[in-house]
């Protein structure tokens, strides 16, 4: 199904673990070091580099853009590393996250509480994914290099709902269906 960002409660309520979604709109890029700075800012009562209400964060650090392209290769990084920083961001209004790999039980619980979803996109298909990113701009923490915060405009960006607000988990369900030991 097609989904437009920013996300609302209404949109999030419709999403179920396992759904294939194509996202269009603005999404923000941040990974390890940027998350650390986000949470430090929030704990001091300072604003984030963007208004988090309803926004989607993509856990990613792109390769540099070659001449004539908005971005280089741009696949997801492992989401679990962002778990320790995720709950304060959900409290601040973030509604969606894109990455790969399992989340902690605490994050999965928090998704229910704050009505947010966790999506995965295809790890290691970074050249393919880059073709869905139409614009990219560094908006904060430029000193972090590949870990700087970016704003992307994406069209039909392919993701799968891993964790929904009802406790559904596409990884657990998938593994259970094919497990033989």
């Amino acid at each position: 199904m097609k989904v437009y960002t920013p996300l609302t409660d209404e949109i999030v309520e419709k999403l179920r673990a396992g759904d294939k979604v194509e996202l269009t709109g603005i999404i923000y890029v941040a990974r390890d070091s940027a998350h650390k700075r986000f949470v430090e800012a929030l704990s001091k009562g300072e604003p984030l580099p963007f208004d988090p209400k309803g926004q989607v964060i993509y856990y990613m650090g792109p390769s540099p853009a070659p001449p004539g392209k908005p971005i280089g290769s741009a696949g997801p990084t492992t989401s679990g590393r962002m778990d320790p920083y995720t709950i304060p961001l959900l409290e601040a209004g973030i509604k969606g996250m894109i990455g790969k790999g399992e989340r902690s039980p605490q994050v999965k619980e928090a998704l229910k509480k704050y009505k947010a979803v966790y999506f995965a996109t295809l790890g290691g298909a970074a050249a393919l994914i880059a073709s869905r990113i139409k614009e990219a701009k560094v908006i904060a923490y430029e000193d972090l290099g590949a870990e700087a915060v970016m704003r992307l405009y994406v069209e039909d960006f392919p993701v799968i709902v891993v964790n929904d607000i009802y406790g559904g988990d596409a990884y657990e369900a998938g593994r259970a269906a094919y497990r033989l030991i």
Binding site: S63, T78, G174
Partner: protein, 281 residues
């Protein structure tokens, strides 16, 4: 003594860094095609097709296969009759990494002061360099860009001799199970057995360089690889962790003698973007 100039080494490393990141090996492509034929999960099949499509796009557009263009791991087989001239060998390799990552628009993903400042070194150096001195007057250089996501899921255990073959299999399978979707399955599993604490990890990494589809020449080792692969693929993790029959494309194990008290085992997990390119100078 045959003289080899440092500039040749730098040029070679710079080229290999780019080739490794743009062009997936034929052996990996073949293994992915076989996985596609074998996979039963519809979503798993779709994911495998997209991984194959990604390798075509990357090669055509000279874009990195994965945005994580890795820590540059360099294996050197240095002929004992080679005389390096014109500079420092390791500096020449690092200069090759520096240049290859810049010219190829590859991501610079190395930080200094790992538990404090974590400041990006800006040029993807230093490389991790493993050197073996071998007979002859040539240098073989293998560049293996290794991503962080799969490396983070790797593990080492100092088993006791009583743990035996079954202990090794259980450790590998449980390491893969814990890794789940994180290391971008379908994975390739490098297993080191024996040696000691640091050598077993080296063996596990080196095992990843063997072409896919080529079992260990020792039948006992080949049988172990086959059994581990079968057990791992029963876990049901599947492509990208969404469930399926193909969690791993291959298991490669390497073995060395060890201490009478020990049975070291290392598991180095490699994502499907299994990149390495080599050259002989």
């Amino acid at each position: 003594m045959r003289e080899i100039h440092c500039s040749v080494i730098t040029d070679t490393v710079a080229r290999l860094c780019q080739e490794a990141n743009f062009y997936l090996g034929e052996d990996v492509i073949k293994a992915l095609e076989e996985a596609l034929a074998k996979e039963e999960s519809p979503l798993g099949k779709e994911i495998l097709s997209q991984i194959l499509e990604n390798s075509k796009v990357a090669a055509q557009e000279k874009l990195p296969l994965c945005q994580d263009t890795g820590l540059a791991v360099v294996f050197l087989e240095l002929g004992q009759d080679v005389h390096i001239v014109g500079g420092n060998l390791y500096e020449a390799i690092n200069e090759g990494v520096r240049r290859g990552y810049k010219e190829g628009y590859l991501r610079k993903g190395v930080v200094d002061k790992p538990f404090s400042a974590r400041k990006n070194t800006g040029d993807n150096t230093p490389a991790i360099i493993h050197t073996e001195i071998v007979p002859g007057d040539k240098i073989k250089i293998t560049v293996c860009p290794k991503g962080g996501g799969s490396e983070n899921m790797s593990a080492l255990a100092m088993l006791t001799p009583a743990a035996g073959r079954e202990g090794i299999i259980n450790f590998v399978v449980s390491t893969v199970e814990k890794a789940g979707a994180n290391p971008c399955p379908p994975i390739i599993i490098g297993v080191g057995i024996g040696g000691n604490f640091e050598y077993v990890a080296y063996l596990a990494k080196k095992a990843l360089l063997r072409p896919l589809g080529q079992p260990h020449p020792d039948p006992e080792m080949a049988e172990l690889e086959r059994e581990i692969l079968e057990r791992v693929n029963k876990l049901g993790i599947g492509p990208q962790g969404f469930g399926g029959r193909v969690t791993a494309l291959a298991v490669h194990a390497e073995v060395a003698p060890c201490h009478i008290a020990s049975l070291p085992v290392a598991v180095n997990i490699q994502c499907h973007s299994a990149r390495h390119k080599e050259a002989v100078i």
